[in-house]
Amino acid sequence: MNVLLDSVPYLLRGALHTVAIAAAVMLLGTVGGIVVGLLNFTPWPWLRASVTAVVEVVRAVPLLLLIFFIFFGLPALGVKIPTFPAAVLAMALWMAVNTAEVVRGGIQSIAPGQFEAGRSAGLSEVQLMRYVIFPQAVRRMIPPFVGLCTILVKDTSLAAIIGVFELTRAAQETIERTLKSFEIYLAAAAIYFVVCFPLTRLGQRAEARLHRT
């Protein structure tokens, strides 16, 4: 029990890093994802097809492999990226393609009548997106997006495998010192739970509000 109490501050330091990584990835990934998601609605078929293909392919790769590829694979080509940026880059890529899917799904769920009405009212495609479609689509994107954020916080644990300091790594280091694997990993799990559970609840409430109107 003493071991547990002594380790909590160190674990919480790791948790802080976890949240920081997740925030950085969320920022990069969301912006990238919105851009890529909107590319699905440009008027050029070749661009739409390429974007769909790239998104589908990158989404099919496990995040762990993305991280390993960027951190271990690229140096063989001469591109050496340190642990923290490599992990953030891989996760931002993951976040971007999954966000792109959420954006695409949200916009496609808007009734075609909205598009027709906007165009017949004389709006340009950009105006249509900006003032009519996107505002409506954003509401529908929120529940799956919150779900993505929850998964992201959990997946930051993968960065520990290449040595990035965050909650899982803090737990591993503590266990190397104390050998109390069960308690420490359980404590780490509890901290992850405390961060993720409110997010899950938020997503469920957003989902409920969506279906109410």
Partner: protein, 223 residues
């Protein structure tokens, strides 16, 4: 043998491919077994949560929330590194498999719960008025329809499971990711090997997705 960093090596891919494909086979097998067990567990828990009384519902809800809001990696570590401390020492294979099962089952429970609730009330009423007992109604009316309704979400969970199975490589369980690590750390052709591994995962996932969509369409037609 070319020194590391001396250009792209197709021969490294050719030499590693048989092992990678073996790993892919293991990944498929592990995912299939885990999904079947997790589906049974999920269905049982979903049915349990519909039982009268608050305790059953709360216990199942607690299980679902705990396993969905903690990282799979930590769950794997708890089973493989933590349980031996309590006296339960499992092999990497059993540790990885059980962790995957409990993780996937948590999502399956939610999927089945939603599926069971989505079966129209009229079906249950009709069954009761025909004199079917509660277990018989479940067996012949409710569960088959719930399965059909849940199928797309279950399929998505299977695809996630295939990708998540890569995490068990961290505790030494042999599957595609483990083999990829093994080969590339031996011959340093990390780019070629990890690249090929990515291609294999993409083919696995895209192939599985296509199969699932086809199965969904056939299920819909049979309805």
């Amino acid at each position: 043998m070319t020194p590391a960093g001396a250009g792209f090596s197709w021969s490294a891919i050719a030499r590693g491919l048989p092992y990678l494909l073996e790993g892919a086979g293991l990944t498929i097998m592990i995912s299939a077994v885990a999904m079947v067990v997790a589906a049974v567990l999920g269905l049982a828990l979903a049915a349990l949560s519909q039982a009268p009384g608050r305790l059953a519902r709360r216990l199942v809800a607690a299980y679902v929330e705990i396993f969905r809001n903690t990282p799979l990696l930590i769950q794997i570590f708890i089973v493989y590194f933590g349980l031996p401390q309590l006296g339960l020492k499992l092999s990497p294979f059993l540790s990885g498999l059980s962790a995957l099962v409990f993780y996937a089952a948590a999502y399956n429970t939610e999927i089945f719960r939603a599926g069971l609730e989505a079966v129209p009330r009229g079906q249950l009423e009709a069954a009761r008025s025909l004199g079917l007992s509660a277990p018989a109604t479940l067996r012949w009316i409710t569960v088959p329809q719930a399965l059909r309704i849940s199928f797309p979400a279950l399929g998505n969970n299977l695809v996630s499971l295939v990708k998540n199975s890569s995490l068990v490589s961290t505790i030494g369980m042999v599957e595609l990711m483990f083999v990829a690590n093994d080969i590339s750390f031996n011959n340093f052709r990390t780019f070629e090997i990890y690249g090929t591994t990515a291609v294999i995962y993409v083919l696995l996932v895209l192939g599985l997705t296509r199969l699932l969509r086809a199965a969904e369409r056939r299920l819909l037609r049979a309805a």
